[in-house]
């Protein structure tokens, strides 16, 4: 039983990390159908900028805010300099552009920052919490809490605000959205800024657990992408549930079957789910008009 609880805590911690990354995918996807493969780099930037600002003497909260603002600015720049000029291009081309952007950001970070691993102090100390016979680090609660908070905020944004609905409308039909008076250019810029900011916030929260270096983005983006696909791309609920499920699969496989197969098992489950439900657990069914 103790071991089981430990596996659950581990799964929730890792799953919340995946969920945080997956949540970042949703806004840009909702606004443009583009899967932004530079999302992992925003997470990395959030961690790296916070580490360097913190080491330079800024208090942690201020360093975190700085990192989020800079990452958002880079997100806007990515949209203005790379995505907007290619506006007419098919979605696949735009996705490839984001892969290029991710290589660029990674390369630039290794020059601007360095190639070493870094960590941030845990927000509430390193003293493990004993709960139901197993242990959990306080930082895990921060990550899990952060994932829930962002989920709630996104959910409210998309269902309760005009702006959120404008984002959805832009994705649905850009021309029609323009006709009803939505500034689609602004919506795109906003969605990149928000996605980058969410990514950076995720980076700040997970760095005390996962550590950060210039090249952690790819791995995080892949896991986050898998989580988002499992839950249903574009749905904040899907990102949260998908992330947590992926983390739990991995932890339970490592605990009860073998750590050698934990990723294989997780991905087989994902494949199985997508085979039956191609749109993911919570993804909207799409009907193509011909």
């Amino acid at each position: 039983m103790d071991a089981f609880m430990q596996f659950i805590y581990s799964g929730l911690t890792v799953g919340a990390v995946y969920a945080l990354v997956a949540l970042g995918f949703t806004i840009i996807y909702n606004a443009s159908d583009v899967v932004n493969f530079a999302q992992g780099e925003f997470v990395m930037l959030g961690g790296m900028i916070t580490v360097f600002a913190f080491d330079a003497g800024l208090p942690l909260p201020l360093a975190a805010v700085l990192a989020i603002v800079i990452a958002a600015a880079i997100g806007v720049a990515l949209n203005k300099l790379a995505i907007e000029p290619a506006r007419g291009a098919p979605v696949v081309s735009l996705i490839i552009i984001t892969i290029g952007a991710s290589i660029l950001i990674r390369g630039a970070s290794q020059i601007v920052f360095d190639k070493q691993l870094h960590r941030l102090p845990a927000f509430s100390g390193d003293e493990p919490i004993h709960l139901l016979g197993a242990t959990l680090l306080p930082q895990s609660l921060w990550v899990i809490g952060g994932a829930f908070a962002i989920f709630v905020a996104l959910w409210l944004f998309f269902t309760r605000t005009l702006l959120g609905k404008a984002v959805l409308a832009t994705a649905n039909n850009r021309l029609a959205a323009q006709l009803v008076g939505i500034n689609t250019g602004f919506v795109m810029t906003l969605s990149f800024a928000l996605s980058a900011a969410i990514g950076a916030l995720a980076g700040v929260l997970v760095t005390p657990i996962t550590l950060v270096s210039y090249d952690v983005g790819v791995g995080l983006a892949l896991k986050g992408f898998a989580a988002a696909m499992l839950g249903g791309m574009g749905n904040p609920k899907g990102a949260l549930v998908g992330g947590l499920l992926l983390g739990l699969f991995e932890a339970l496989t490592a605990g009860y079957i073998s750590s050698q197969y934990k990723e294989a098992v997780a991905f087989i489950v994902i494949l199985g789910v997508l085979f039956v439900m191609p749109q993911g657990l919570f993804g909207a069914k799409k009907t193509e008009r011909v």
């Binding site: 430990q6 890792v14 070493q116 691993l117 960590r119 390193d126 550590l211 490592a254 990723e263």
Partner: protein
């Protein structure tokens, strides 16, 4: 097009030429960027620094060294291209490099084919076993690290252990080597777990090992963030068994990443370089290690690493061989290299022979323990 340009700019090659009238051309292909940058970066910096130093002191037998340095980004294909370019276009007399085992294997085929002496900076035993005529290496092998660790376990009466290894090249290779030599040290491996290089939590694996009956100690072959996270999870779970890490994380950075509290009591085999202050007066390595540490830290403002030390030793071996050979003929340099006897480096004291192109023994490793956030020698 944009993507191609970006990729090219990112992966741009460092071609560094120093003195214009250099007489001895030394080639290097290192992984100064990419995933193995933590190896190649200090190695490249070390070579550049040492070449400057030697030239400022009059070069080798009055001839200056010109270093031709390429950054292969950890890609074996690029390493092969650069090795070919070093030999054919730059006409170097010897090559240092191959930060990783993969890039080393690429360079080996060129060096052996063209008859150019080559000192590798990578760990795997396959590089010098079987012995190749023109290939030498400076880092100790994974197998030696395993033997050193197992010897310490035997000393402490530990016979049954659990292993948790990274699935990256380093972790997988060392895991395999450790399994091979465990039997001869009467060590029984009761539990074997792995983690992927970027995993964020290893508590399930550690919980499993912890609940395996009879495990007396845990060994974690790996480098990068994995071992730091394992160490922190170890403390989180309150596991009381001794934790052994590998030489892959033998740096002050590891203590910082894992946190001094969690790292308390962790043991690993490391080199003299790590404990420069603790080496006793009279130890032959004292002067070498102190000189290198002082000038590196002064020039670059960062701590030395074991990996930079490998490059330091390779360069010293090469300079020593070239000066003894008295010519820059590659074959003469090779013969002089093989005749190296008792050259003191940061990693250990090298004595090459026709059937030993590594030239180190277990005494090169020192068993270290972390106490109060500092390295302590426990040999």
């Amino acid at each position: 097009m944009k993507i191609t340009t970006t990729a090219l700019a990112t992966l741009m090659v460092l071609g560094i030429a120093s003195a214009a009238h250099a007489d001895i051309k030394l080639g290097a292909s290192l992984s100064a960027s990419g995933g193995a940058a933590f190896l190649g970066d200090p190695e490249a910096k070390t070579l550049e620094m040492l070449v400057e130093e030697v030239n400022a002191n009059g070069g080798i037998n009055g001839e200056e060294i010109e270093l031709v340095l390429y950054d292969d980004g950890g890609d074996p294909n690029k390493a092969r291209t650069f090795a070919t370019r070093l030999v054919e276009d730059d006409e170097v007399v010897a090559i240092i490099g191959g930060s990783t085992t993969g890039t080393t294997m690429s360079i080996i085929s060129v060096a052996e084919g063209e008859g150019i002496p080559f000192i590798s900076l990578a760990g795997a035993i396959q590089i010098i076993d079987p012995v190749r005529e023109f290939v030498f290496k400076t880092p100790h092998t994974d197998r030696m690290a395993c033997e050193k660790i197992f010897a310490d376990m035997q000393k402490n009466g530990i016979t049954k252990i659990g292993m948790i290894s990274g699935t990256d090249g380093f972790g997988a290779s060392m895991e395999a080597q450790c399994k091979e030599v465990a039997g001869s040290h009467e060590i029984e491996i009761l539990a074997q777990e792995t983690y992927a290089p970027q995993d964020a939590d290893m508590t399930p694996q550690l919980t499993k090992i912890k609940s395996t009956d009879g495990v007396q100690a845990i060994l974690n072959p790996g480098f990068g963030q994995g071992p730091a996270i394992v160490t922190r999870n170890y403390a989180q779970l309150g596991i009381e068994l001794p934790l052994y890490q590998s030489h892959g994380v033998a740096s002050d950075g590891f203590i910082e990443l894992a946190g001094a509290d969690a790292a308390e009591g962790v043991r690993l085999p490391g080199t003299a370089l790590l404990i420069a202050d603790l080496i006793e007066e009279g130890d032959p390595q004292k002067d070498v290690v102190t000189a290198y540490t002082t000038s590196y830290e002064e020039k670059y403002g960062e701590d030395v690493s074991t990996f930079g030390g490998y490059a330091h030793d390779a360069f010293r071996l090469m300079v020593d061989a070239i000066s003894r050979a008295g010519s820059d003929d590659p074959s003469a340099i090779r013969d002089a290299l093989e005749a190296t006897d008792g050259l003191v480096g940061t990693t250990g004291t090298y004595t090459f022979s026709a059937d030993d192109h590594l030239g180190l023994d277990l005494s090169a490793f020192r068993m270290l323990e972390i106490r109060d956030g500092e390295w302590v020698s426990i040999d």
